[in-house]
């Protein structure tokens, strides 16, 4: 991969074969975000037991960048508490904004380092993370988690 390329093997793999791209039989939290520039939509949902996100999935169609980011999100956030998940959202936001070193907690995000040369595509990478942030804060569709 040359320096100019955004599409490294890890990003293309996650984008073309996204993990956890499915629907939950019952989602405790769920939110959708869309990208105004292209119309892509991503919905992130999770099953929550106590404070823990025991399953995290996404639905939607989009570009490789948004699908890869959503795919990676599900693998990074699954098993975390709500508080830990919100902290990861904050770190991901900072990373996509500054595109410096990937956070120590999520070294896999380095797959998106090529965004520094294609800044208009940052919104694609942020899409799923913003959906998760909404889901965690708004706790839709049901505020109550299973215990």
């Amino acid at each position: 991969m040359s320096a100019g390329d955004l599409y490294g093997p890890e990003l293309v793999d996650h984008g073309n074969q996204p993990r956890n791209k499915r629907k939950l039989a019952r989602a405790d939290i769920s939110a959708m975000r869309s990208n105004a520039s292209c119309g892509d939509e991503v919905r992130v949902s999770a099953a929550v037991t106590g404070e823990k996100l025991v399953d995290v999935v996404f639905e939607g169609d989009g570009c490789l960048v948004s699908l890869a980011s959503a795919s990676m999100l599900t693998t990074l956030v699954k098993g975390k508490s709500r508080e830990e998940a919100l902290a990861l959202v904050g770190q991901a936001r900072t990373y996509f904004e500054q595109l410096g070193d990937a956070p120590a907690s999520m070294p896999g995000l380095a797959a998106f380092s090529g965004l520094s040369r294609f800044p208009v595509r940052r919104a694609c990478a942020r899409l799923a993370w913003e959906a998760l942030a909404n889901a965690l804060v708004e706790a839709s569709p049901t505020a109550a988690s299973r215990t």
């Binding site: 599409y7 520039s37 989009g62 570009c63 490789l64 960048v65 294609f118």
Partner: protein, 423 residues
């Protein structure tokens, strides 16, 4: 680029006439010497906005460097200089559109012009039960103003369907009725590149007493914008797609229609006399141009029109058509590429889809190879819905493109398919 389907690229290029550069044109565009991600720029996004020749940059710079006053206001020499520049661009635009000087209203661009027609002409003339015809290929700029005009008046918006990414006069004829007060259509589709049969449609519309509003954002650059030959009552165009400065443009409005219009923006420059309770507006197009005109824009647009005149209208139009037609044929040779629409008369635009790869990924991949294209829904959501496409990649050709640009485009699309497509 590997050879595909028998005939070689070199052979096809040698048998296609007029694919080489227009003499001396590329050297006139300083931006073409830019390198993008380590590759020489191949600019295929003129339908979004065109690059500017040095003469345009020089004309704009002269206004700033040597000074120009306020148009039609200041009595000093710099004021006169500014007035001359704005008068000149009106004359140049009239010549470009084959119209009279008093039929040219200076605007900030096509969107501005179309909104002026909707707010300043249609709003007071549309009534409950009237119909406004638009086509399925309209850009939002020629759709949203009519949505609102219909909502406010109770008129009905009727859509002429597209067939094969084109609009046919027969379909318009079937939908015209004595209730049709207005037909709003694009000269050239910003999605499929189709040149619509505007003259035929205008004749049909006028026969039922409807006015014709033409969106010339694309057409002015890649088709013949002879407004009287087209039969347009209104023709809106932008300067920045004509190699001129941003926020410049014109609305052609026939004298008869101007007499029916009301200024939308009120303020300085449009009145002959104002008292505390009465206003006497001036005659002519200036009464729709409230506020201080864009002097540097006028200077730059005049320079752009002079540049285009030197190339020649027919050479400019034919060059873009030939390149886009060649590009469509070459793209179709790449497995997995679908060209969007098969218009009867293609202009300088070709849109396509690479199966299995999102349009924005294709565009970013092309950008990494120095090839600039547009991707997405191109401000024409209903048009894409009608064509059954979620998003598209659009390559558009201008006076500075040549066969090498088509070759670079196709090579980059092939490598995008190889790297980004699901295996």
């Amino acid at each position: 680029m590997p050879e595909l389907n028998g005939t070689g690229v070199a052979e096809r290029e040698s048998t296609a006439h007029g694919l080489q550069s227009l003499p001396g044109v590329r050297d006139a565009f300083p931006a073409l010497s830019e390198w993008i991600h380590g590759e020489p720029l191949v600019y295929l996004d003129s339908a979004a906005t065109a690059l500017k020749p040095r003469s345009v940059a020089d004309a704009v710079a002269r206004v700033y460097l040597h000074g120009a006053g306020a148009v039609d206001r200041s009595a000093h020499t710099l004021g006169a200089r500014a007035t001359t520049l704005v008068d000149r661009v009106r004359t140049d635009l009239a010549e470009f559109l084959c119209a009279s000087v008093d039929e040219i209203i200076l605007t900030r661009g096509t969107t501005d012009g179309l909104n002026l027609v909707a707010m300043g002409w249609a709003r007071s003339r549309l009534h409950h039960g009237d119909e406004v015809l638009v086509t399925a290929l309209e850009h939002h700029a020629n759709l949203l103003p009519w949505h609102r005009a219909c909502q406010e008046s109770g008129a009905r918006l009727v859509t002429v369907p597209a067939r094969g990414g084109d609009i046919y006069a027969d379909d318009v004829a079937r939908l015209l009725t004595p209730r049709t007060k207005l037909v709003a259509l694009t000269h050239v589709s910003n999605v499929t590149g189709a040149e619509l049969p505007v003259a035929k449609i205008s004749a049909l519309a006028h026969a039922v007493g409807a006015a014709v509003v033409v969106d010339g954002a694309q057409g002015a650059a890649v088709a013949d914008a002879d407004v009287h030959a087209l039969g347009a009552d209104f023709y809106a165009m932008s300067g920045h797609k004509l190699y001129g400065p941003s926020s410049t443009g014109a609305l052609f409005a026939s004298r008869a229609r101007q007499a029916e219009m009301t200024p939308v923006a009120l303020g300085g420059g449009i009145a002959l006399r104002v008292t505390t309770d009465q206003v006497t507006l001036r005659e002519g197009p200036q009464r729709f141009e409230s506020g201080s005109p864009n002097v540097e824009g006028a200077a730059g647009l005049s320079a752009a029109l002079a540049f285009l005149q030197e190339i020649g209208k027919h050479a400019r139009i034919a060059h873009a058509r030939r390149l886009a037609t060649h590009a469509a044929a070459e793209l179709l040779r790449i497995p997995g590429v679908r060209v969007v629409g098969a218009p009867a008369q293609r202009t300088g635009i070709v849109s396509f889809v690479l199966e299995g790869v999102h349009a924005h990924d294709v565009a970013t991949w092309l950008d990494s190879r120095g090839v600039a294209v547009r991707a997405g829904r191109v401000c024409a959501h209903p048009a894409l819905d009608a064509l059954g496409e979620r998003e598209i990649v659009r390559a558009s050709f201008g006076v500075y493109n040549d066969v090498h640009c088509v070759r670079a485009l196709c090579a980059a699309v092939q490598s995008a398919k190889k790297t980004l497509g699901a295996s």
